[in-house]
Symmetry: C2
């Protein structure tokens, strides 16, 4: 007989549409969850976290909230749900909040965002995940979860590294999440999971900004559908060029999935409309760099969309 | 000794930024010019045509104006300066206003717009031209000509057709224009002239809409420059695929030309901002169709831009 392990202590860095939702669900189910907040700190301390969700509405009355990393306890699991545009902060934050044998799970969009974590966290203790959900922060400490909710996550794959610790803690995170009502799924192939998610993010985040349209308008127009289909096929081909084989049926499935989705403004479109820096490098730049020299040939439409978004981002960052 | 020919009688269909400017310059120099107007008819009849131009400001006090084609005299030269989105009107208009041996010169943007003229006008009597200028209609009967001003025009090339009449009248138009102070240049190769113009129109009309930016902002940003360069190179390659060889130096020259241009909102951007249908088929669709089956391979960025613009045009036409 083995003694049951101590419960995991969680930190949530970035308590918005994703971190706020999953953190609140974990805390509601009894997990020890510590939330880092900034502008919403006072509001959430007084009013709690309000979750309007297709899975059921609730208010997390008295979350453990912090307005700086310095005041947080060391945690076994640090979940990153910040925008990747702010990853420079991680270099200072992670060493302060990650316990000695703790792990970091980044739920950020894009590809290779784990590399930003690895600057301060040793190999074998980094996990990454993709969230398949429609969720928006609609006000201070107020999250509206509209549709879906699945997380797929796994250990960050690095040549020559056996991620024993990441696997072990990862399986416990999966169990905690499932107990909390989160549709969490362990992935033995994080790269494949990330590329699969990019098959949605690249077309629909990108087009929603450049075409100034929600997903239903893109899907509802023939040129919009043609563009989306072309981009999805290029992500599929880009993954293959990186040695990641995805079933061809996923191309059609991504379109069908979007057709049945509620009308949705992607996170990138919300950032654009709010004049916040967009996650262009994580979602577009990193995959194109992963494809390498042949990117403009394998993925000409992604390359063009990347430059169009970079143009918009440049203007946003100059204004900021 | 030959008797001098009777002066040419001109009709201007579409008296906006291009037709209004050149028509007023021809009339000022003594040519017999008849202007078709619509919304501006009353204003121009009372106030004349006001031209603010880098070549010198003037008001054409009493132009010969008409509010319908029916009331116009038959003309030796009919200059089309309407938007090509309205070319369905030509089928009714041209037979009424073109003299028995008259010619039609279309100054519309894009490729193969002459085919719309040929539906009612016999082979050998059609000319096309490209205008290299920055000019906008800024109010009723009020044109602001900001920069440049060259016209290059020539006979519409059709297999098996010797455009004797187009060539003969074309040379007289050139002389009239030059006497009027217009930098008019005869072209023996209209297709080449049109493709050369597309090297500017495709990148800068298209990007100005999709990036929501004037030419100086596009040129002033690295991603904007990269996109423009890519598109210019694809137009050059597309021309070659259609048997039109353009000196490679034209790629660099197009960028340099735009760098020294005044900050300018392209006609397509002005249409977009005013929610008027854009000339997407003439400028993008026709060249891609001319390239044919290999268009998505030779011109992937043009293909994508075409679909993006088609998406916007669809929304404009649904609202209209």
């Amino acid at each position: 007989m083995t003694t049951p392990a101590e419960p995991l202590r969680y930190a949530i860095l970035g308590s918005g549409a994703v971190g706020g939702l999953y953190g609140a669900m974990l805390a509601r189910s009894g997990c020890d969850v510590h939330f880092l907040l900034h502008s919403d700190f006072e509001h959430v301390r007084e009013n709690g976290l309000r979750i309007d969700s297709v899975l059921g509405d609730f208010v997390l009355e008295s979350p453990q909230v912090y307005d700086s990393v310095e005041s947080m306890p060391k945690c076994d699991v640090v979940i990153i749900a910040l925008k990747s545009t702010r990853n420079a902060l991680l270099d200072e934050w992670l060493p302060r909040v990650v316990a000695d044998d703790g792990v970091v799970l980044t739920l950020q969009n894009g590809l290779d965002v784990e590399a930003d974590v690895r600057r301060t966290i040793p190999a074998g203790r980094v996990l990454g995940g993709c969230c398949f959900l429609c969720s928006n922060k609609v006000g201070p400490g107020h999250i509206h979860h509209l549709d879906y909710g699945r997380i797929a996550f796994g250990a960050y794959q690095e040549a020559g590294v056996d991620p024993l610790r990441a696997n072990e803690v990862g399986r416990r995170i999966e169990a905690d999440m499932q107990s909390a009502g989160i549709d969490a799924n362990w992935s033995d192939d994080l790269a494949k999971t990330r590329w699969r998610k990019l098959m949605w993010n690249i077309p629909f985040n990108g087009l929603s900004v450049v075409l100034d349209a929600s997903t239903d308008r893109i899907i509802g127009s023939q040129p919009g559908r043609d563009l989306a289909n072309q981009l999805i096929a290029e992500v599929h081909a880009g993954a293959a060029a990186c040695g990641v084989e995805i079933d061809e049926k996923a191309i059609r499935a991504t379109m069908e999935h979007t057709e049945t989705m509620v009308p949705y403004d992607s996170s990138m479109r919300l950032d654009f409309l709010a004049k916040r820096p967009m996650e262009v490098e994580a979602i577009f730049g990193n995959p194109l760099r992963a494809i390498g020299d042949r990117a403009s040939e394998i993925a000409p439409s992604i390359s063009m969309l990347y430059q169009q978004l970079a143009f918009f981002n440049e203007a946003i960052c100059q204004d900021a």
